[in-house]
């Protein structure tokens, strides 16, 4: 199992870029933290999920004081 944005998902072996496309993320608008390290966008197609991975996918949202 892989923990993606706090949710356990059975995505072991899936390539990150494939997961992002399948889930419907706009890769222009996101940043990905993979096991605590931020990934460069060109690493999306060289990174495959392994059991126990922790992935955070973030974007900008409206916010202020």
């Amino acid at each position: 199992m892989v923990t993606i944005n706090g949710e356990a998902q059975a995505k072991d072996g899936t390539m990150l870029l494939d997961f992002l496309k399948e889930a419907g993320y706009d890769s222009r608008a996101i940043a990905v933290e993979y096991n605590g390290a931020i990934l460069a966008k060109d690493a999306y197609e060289t990174t495959s999920f392994r059991a126990g991975d922790v992935v955070e996918i973030v974007c900008f949202m409206g916010g202020g004081a």
Partner: protein, 270 residues
């Protein structure tokens, strides 16, 4: 000849030259706009009527159901100021800052670290630590803080580009509750003081600018107003009015008595 008639520059020229600097960036607009709690469709109008050059955004987990990208709604001319809202420690703020940088919109970061969920007060100690870490990495660091002189001095030493003290609890629209302490920071700290949080009305923004604040940050004042772009415009006018008054130098206040502005001779009864 009085001081004011000696000046050869027009008011428009003076205002066009009036600016402040954060890191290596110069800004003419003194209205920093938040983008939270109102619809993406209103952001463009709010930024235009505010004439804002800096707009804050938050970093959050991306939701695939949310197809809208806020960056498509913010005019390309503005500088994005990501905040670290949600951080409870310096380390969490640094992590969010790194993610914000990876999102690819420059090196500005507004540090917000809150451990208190009832009053949402910023933790000055953690904020100082995060400022030091991020300034060393080359971020332009704008720390949101509780207006305390010692903490503000520590933020200067830590490499902050400005100091952002709160006027009142965040989102409260309660105005300049910390007025005396804001004035101390304005007078003593050699960095732009950007009054952040709590400003609810244009008159309060104007008052803070008259006191010598470098800029005003507002979000809830607009987001909870009846007409967001109209309030953005009202705030812009108030901030400009306050700035002009500050640059002019305010007239003196008499301790006692009165002083006529009319001629003191030629009365009809003489």
């Amino acid at each position: 000849m009085t001081e004011s008639t000696k000046s050869t520059k027009s008011i428009e020229e003076k205002m066009a030259e009036d600016s402040f600097t954060l890191g290596s960036h110069t800004f003419h607009s003194r209205f920093i706009l938040g983008s939270g709690k109102y619809s993406l469709e209103l952001i463009d109008a709010a930024v235009r009527y505010a004439e804002a050059e800096l707009v804050t955004v938050a970093v959050r987990r991306a939701n695939t159901k949310e197809k809208e990208n806020i960056l498509d709604y913010v005019p390309k001319t503005v500088t994005l100021l990501p905040n670290t809202s949600g951080a409870r420690t310096a380390e969490e703020a640094v992590r969010i800052a790194h993610l914000a940088k990876a999102l690819g919109c420059g090196d500005f970061i507004k540090i917000e670290i809150m451990r208190d969920s009832k009053y949402l007060l910023p933790d000055n100690n953690e904020t100082i630590r995060a400022t030091e870490m991020l300034a060393k990495e080359g971020f332009v660091v704008l720390p949101y803080m509780y207006p305390d002189l010692y903490a503000a001095r520590a933020l200067v030493d830590a490499g902050a580009a400005a100091v952002m003290p709160l006027a009142a609890p965040i989102g409260s629209n309660k105005g300049l509750a910390t007025k005396e302490f804001l004035q101390i920071l304005i007078d003593e700290i050699d960095l732009p003081i950007i009054v952040d949080a709590g400003i609810g009305k244009p008159s309060e923004a104007c008052a803070a600018m008259e006191m010598g604040a470098a800029a005003i940050m507002a979000n809830t004042a607009l987001a909870t107003a009846g007409d967001v772009p109209l309030m953005a415009s009202a705030m812009r006018d108030a901030i400009r009015a306050g700035r002009k008054a500050y640059l002019s130098g305010l007239g003196r206040v008499l301790t006692r008595g009165a002083a006529a502005s009319d001629p003191l001779t030629g009365f009809l009864h003489d």
